[in-house]
Amino acid sequence: MYDIILPVRFFLRRRITILAVLAVALCVFTVVVVMTVMNGLVADFTDKNHAFFSDCIVSTDSLVGFGLYDEFISRLEKCDFVVSASPVINTFGLVESESSGKNAALDLMGIDIARHIKTTDFADTLYYRRDLPSLAFEPLYDINLGGCIVGVDLLVERQKSGQYRQLSYLPMWSYLITCFPLTPKGALAKTGTQLSANSATFYYSDNSNSGLAKIDSTVVYIPFDSLQSLCGMDIGAKRTSAIFVKFKDGFNINVCTDKVSLLWQDFISQKSDFMLAYLFGTVRVEDWKTYRRETIAPMEKEQTMMILLFALVGLITVFIIFVIFYMIISRKSRDIGILKSLGVSKSGIVRVFLRLAFLVGICGAVVGILSALVFLANINRLEGWLFDKFGFQMWNREIYAINEIPNEIKPILLAVVAACAVAACLLGALLPTLGAAGRKCVDVLKVNQL
């Protein structure tokens, strides 16, 4: 019983324990806030990537693409785990505004809109045609004109608040889009200095806000067939750069990606006599996360670095606990002597002080977590107030593709941080506790020590 009463008594009576609790609480508060925001940013970014690129991507980096995609899509759609598949062309083009004369070399994405909105969350990124996404390439002002969807950051100004200043009407803007048509061998389909490129005019029909800054500031979407003919992917045999595949809910993405990979291997072995079979060699089958690893990995690395830095800083908390316990134990040497003289074992002494450390850890974690929860619940309001009063924004929304500061609490994070706080307290208290347990009562209670 003493090993329960004494820790509680020490905890309540010794004012120095408040200092220990506050040190732990401060550390827990900082880690919970920073990691919640950081995890939220990473999760938001990965979710947006997932929504944009679907579950699995069959793709090649070559601008020449690969053929027989229609046949493979038919096979895919017969699989019980596939919802839909959409062919996509990725290439570069010169986009010139016919009204301003300004031009830019941009990424072009050719999509079959009907298939693409079934396969990805592209429909949610549209502004004017969100309700009727299948008509996204039909400009509202004249549905007979060939439309193009432009990345939102290319056209629409973003306000400091993070909102886009969208026009209430769809302006009739036209763009001359030019591509190099390539033969299946990759050579220029047209030779001669004046005639090596293909051009066509497209009319602004919508803008797309995927929330992925690099995509929204560099990509123009045009109908799949139009881009296929502009970049010569209809020469020889019709070709595509990628196939996006969406799996049914409840199916494991990695397992299904492996199945698609097997299906692809099977497909290309059957089509080895196809005239453009050599193009299959560069095709990869990947899940969305692997496909986007170059973009996602740096953020995850930064997250890891942040955890390491906090671990380093958390070391100071361990030091503080160590010193405070050293202090408490040195002041309690007589109590320890008396306890031992009454027959309390070494492990009994260890239990008393480790339980005290546990109490400090738990209380520090609870205080830290509660204050972090209150802070996170109000973080966006606080930022809004700081912005209104002092013009301070944590992230300038004109630069960063962030809407609100993420503040979704993950119970697992709270549990891990609380466990780490308790572990740090136990670790910090361990040495002084072992020192206390090792003391002999005859040494502690001899008259000149009293």
Binding site: L19, A23, L26, C27, T30, V34, S62, L63, V64, T91, F92, G93, L94, E96, G101, N103, A104, A105, L106, D107, L176, T178, C179, F180, L182, K185, G186, A187, L188, G192, T193, Q194, S196, A197, S199, E294, P298, K301, M305, L309, L312, V313, L315, I316, T317, F319, I320, F322, V323, I324, Y326, M327, S330, R331, M394, W395, N396, E398, I399, Y400
Partner: protein, 448 residues
């Protein structure tokens, strides 16, 4: 003397004091390193901007003619050392089978550009020549436009080492590529002629490779002679340009020179170009450092937030020093009482611990500063070792712009944190020092 002696003695005898020294050192090293790496990154952005754009950028709302005359006027001002015109456009480049990329094409006058920027130092082949670099190759260039190409367009840095394969890159020199740009053409029809957009293609010959170590520049830019680009774009104007880059004379401040440039530009645009005043006023004349200010301000903000977070946690050092000192005061009460009984004042007792705190602060902060200096200077080697040992590439030019981690040690921030660390130690020692000062010898030294 007694104060110093006792402070030093406690420092030597009490092993637990080492803990506070380690904590002070750890906090100082962390804060100094973070601040140095951030400020070095910001400085690298600003210096690469000056290196690439000159000191001042003049960018009118639209393209203009007679850029040679404007440059002559600018160079006539004593505050300006050199100026160079740029004609820019965007386009596509076809290198070979299946290899097409989007590019920004700059038409430049190489001689003046080398005076304004550090372009020569960025050329792989011609940087060591004593003469001014030239748009020429040994190969016969029958009609092809000579060009310098960004290294990132020709190759990708190695995923593990983040370095380019220079032998592969050099193999491109002397080779050809095709560029396509958008040009405004005049079409004659019954009833007059009108302008329309056309695409025009041309063969270019790669004379040299530009390696600025700034990934975004290296992977996107092509440089060709300004007259060749003007001809390709079907420009009818004389010496057209859309941007002027200006280098200030030695001793002239870019901020001050901006006013001089604005005055010259206003005179030129109204007299020679006949532009209306509102159009002239719409011209952006800004230092290259200020051009990056929105981005660098964001990085500064991130640095500030990070330093506040780490600073708050590092403030735990105060608690640590307080606890250790309080413990020492309690255990050394008899010593203190003896000092007081032989005539030492309260101040003497207090100052022992304040000096002690000062020693710990100085020692810990010095160790931390040295560690910060060591880490910052060797951050590239550390990053390389992590990459080799753990296979984890932390720094990549495609993500963080530069091929190497900028590692200039910031002494200004270092001294600030040094001072803060010493101050924190003294502050932590303050309450124990007061407790020591309040020691009453009669109570401590009585026999019972």
């Amino acid at each position: 003397m007694l104060k110093f002696f006792l402070a030093l003695r406690y420092l030597k005898k009490k092993k637990i004091v080492l803990l506070s020294i380690v904590a002070v050192a750890l906090s100082t090293a962390l804060l100094v390193t973070v601040a140095s790496l951030f400020t070095a990154f910001i400085e690298a952005i600003e210096s690469s901007s000056s290196d690439y754009l000159g000191d001042i950028v003049l960018q009118p709302p639209q393209e203009f003619s007679y850029s040679d005359q404007l440059i002559a006027k600018l160079c006539g001002a004593k505050e300006i050392a050199a100026a160079s015109a740029v004609l820019s456009t965007n386009g596509l480049i076809h290198f070979g089978p299946g290899d097409v990329k989007a590019v920004s094409i700059w038409g430049i006058d190489l001689q003046s550009r080398c005076r304004v920027t550090g372009m020569k130092n960025n050329l792989l082949m011609q940087k060591n020549l004593s003469s001014v670099p030239q748009f020429k190759t040994d190969a016969d260039d029958s009609g092809a436009i000579p060009a310098f190409i960004g290294i990132g367009l020709l190759a990708q840095p190695d995923a593990k080492t983040d370095e380019y394969d220079l032998s592969k890159v050099n193999a491109f020199i002397g080779g050809d590529a095709v560029i396509t740009v958008g040009a405004v053409g005049k079409v004659s029809q019954t009833g007059g002629s009108f302008a329309n957009l056309q695409t025009r293609s041309a063969r270019i010959r790669i004379c040299d490779v530009v390696f600025t170590s700034v990934y975004d520049i290296d992977k996107r830019f092509i440089f060709v002679p300004v007259d060749s680009l003007a001809a390709l774009l079907n420009k009818q104007d004389i010496k057209p340009a859309d941007v002027i880059h200006i280098k200030c004379a030695a001793g002239s401040s870019p901020q001050y020179t901006v006013d001089v440039v604005r005055r010259i530009w206003t005179d030129f645009a109204s007299d020679r170009l006949n532009w209306p005043s509102y159009y002239i006023a719409d011209t952006e004349i800004i230092t290259s450092v200020a051009k990056q200010s929105q981005y660098t301000a964001e990085i500064r903000k991130q640095m500030g937030v990070l330093l506040v977070i780490f600073g708050v946690i590092s403030a735990g050092v105060i608690v640590l020093v307080f606890c250790i000192f309080y413990m020492i005061v309690v255990s050394k009460q008899k010593d203190l009482a003896i000092i007081r009984s032989v005539g030492g004042s309260s101040f003497t007792s207090a100052s022992i611990f304040l000096f002690f705190g000062l020693f710990i602060g100085l020692l810990g902060a010095s160790v931390g500063l040295a560690a910060g200096l060591l880490i910052t200077h060797n951050v590239n080697a550390i990053e390389r070792q992590i990459s080799v040992l753990l296979g984890l590439k932390l720094w990549s030019s495609s993500v963080y712009m530069f091929s190497r981690i900028p590692n200039h040690f910031n002494w200004c921030w270092a001294w600030r944190f040094f001072g803060a660390a010493v101050g924190a130690s003294v502050l932590g020692a303050l309450v124990p020092a007061i407790a020591a000062a309040k020691t009453i010898p009669a109570k401590i030294l009585r026999y019972e």
